[in-house]
Amino acid sequence: MKLLLALIRRDLALSLRQGGGAGTALGFFLAVVVLLPIGIGPDQALLARIAPGALWISLLLSVLLSADRIFQQDYEDGSLDIMTMGPVPFELVALAKAAAHWLSTSLPLAIAAPLLGFLVNLEPQAILPLAASMVLGSAALSLLAAVGAAVTVGLRRGGLLVSILVLPLYVPVMIFGLSASQPGAAPGLTTASLLILAAITLVSLVVSPLASAAALRSYLK
């Protein structure tokens, strides 16, 4: 457990001090959100209707774009090879890396996104459900991104491939994340969607470390 926390701390420190971490992802997120009103026109009513969806899509893209950093560096400099031989089970190493990605990138984005909703005329009463669903969902996003990153870690141009592989898995997260943050939805719907979202996150929590570790091992052999 101590070793795991050390791993997470190491990854967090790396991503904070190296630059290109959470700040860059946030910048990318802002760029996408700003492009949207330019692309579809500044109609306030229309923007308010699509605001949760626009924020969710921007979140997915930002998380995806930063996904390749989860394992890439440690794969290239050989740290992952050493971690396979360490005392920590390799599945937990994969989990620690996904957790570090969540803490450094997805979670800050998920907290910042609803606050940036004013850019796309998000209704104020939708901010809280949107924040709840994004914080819950962002954990699943990071875990699934880790699988995609692991599967493509040894490829020279894995970036686009990660998107093809991971976006289909993001669809359920986004569907329930959106139905939780619909403005004017039935009161039971938000709770039910949040519960399903939590279920998806828990399933990813189980599947992701196993899958990522298996994929990484095939590259490390």
């Binding site: 599967v151 093809i164 592989l165 289909p168 898995l169 599947v207 095939s218 590259y219």
Partner: protein
């Protein structure tokens, strides 16, 4: 299953059964298409367009079935290290993708006169579309990784993780209120579809299954041959 682990033995059996499989496939398609397009009645609401169902529904079944075959083969590869399992999973993917595309395309042709739109973003359609993307991603992995051994190991992970989507597609119409019809053949309380329409549909389902079996055997054969050629090339380079 262990008996079939020897590729040469497998190929011998495949070559022996293939002519019969093709014959059964053609026979079933003849009966099924005749039943579906000629003898079965028109629908009282949909008219003649109901006949698209005989092509559409079995294709959708097969799209799900082939992905399950792929996932099963990947699981067998992980657990038993069966030498042909990876080949079976790899060759099933393009066939399944075509079935999936066929289901989407025929569904779209049917949707235009019935729903008034080529495409609607509804639970079943969306999840089928996602299945198509999963097929594409799986094939992309095989294409992206040069070393076939490593590609096989990574592709197993992709196939097994993507398999989570299959039950979601299957039950999407039951879980969400959807524009798409709920299941009418495989139900707990028996089929709700009339016998005169049911039998051509089931025959078509069988015909599609045999078509898949035939195509799968042929492409496994081709893949094994391709690997032999690759090894001969490598050996030749080594001799030089």
């Amino acid at each position: 299953m262990q008996y079939l682990a020897n590729p040469t033995r497998f190929l011998k059996i495949a070559n022996a059964v293939l002519p019969y499989v093709w014959a059964i496939t053609i026979g079933l398609f003849a009966i099924g298409l005749y039943g579906g397009l000629v003898t079965s009645p028109q629908d009282y609401q949909q008219g003649e367009t109901v006949r698209i169902m005989y092509v559409h529904v079995p294709a959708a079944w097969m799209a799900l079935f082939v992905y399950s075959v792929m996932a099963l083969a990947s699981a067998v590869a992980v657990i038993f290290r069966h030498p042909l399992a990876d080949v079976a999973a790899k060759t099933a993917a393009p066939i399944g993708a075509v079935f999936c595309f066929l289901a989407l395309a025929t569904g779209s042709l049917w949707g235009k006169p019935m729903w008034g739109a080529w495409w609607v973003w509804d639970a079943r359609l969306t999840s089928m579309f996602v299945l198509m993307l999963l097929y594409i991603g799986y094939m992309a992995i095989w294409a992206a990784i040069e070393d076939p051994h490593r590609a096989a190991m990574v592709a197993r992970v992709v196939a097994l993780v993507g398999f989570i989507n299959v039950p979601i597609v299957k039950f999407s119409v039951d879980w969400w209120n959807s524009l798409h019809q709920p299941a009418s053949v495989f139900r707990m309380d028996g089929p709700t579809i009339h016998g005169s329409m049911l039998w051509p549909l089931l025959v078509m389902g069988l015909a599609y299954s045999f078509l898949f079996l035939a195509l799968h055997l042929v492409s496994i054969r081709a893949e094994v041959a391709a690997r032999k050629i690759r090894q001969i090339h490598i050996a030749e380079i080594g001799e030089r």
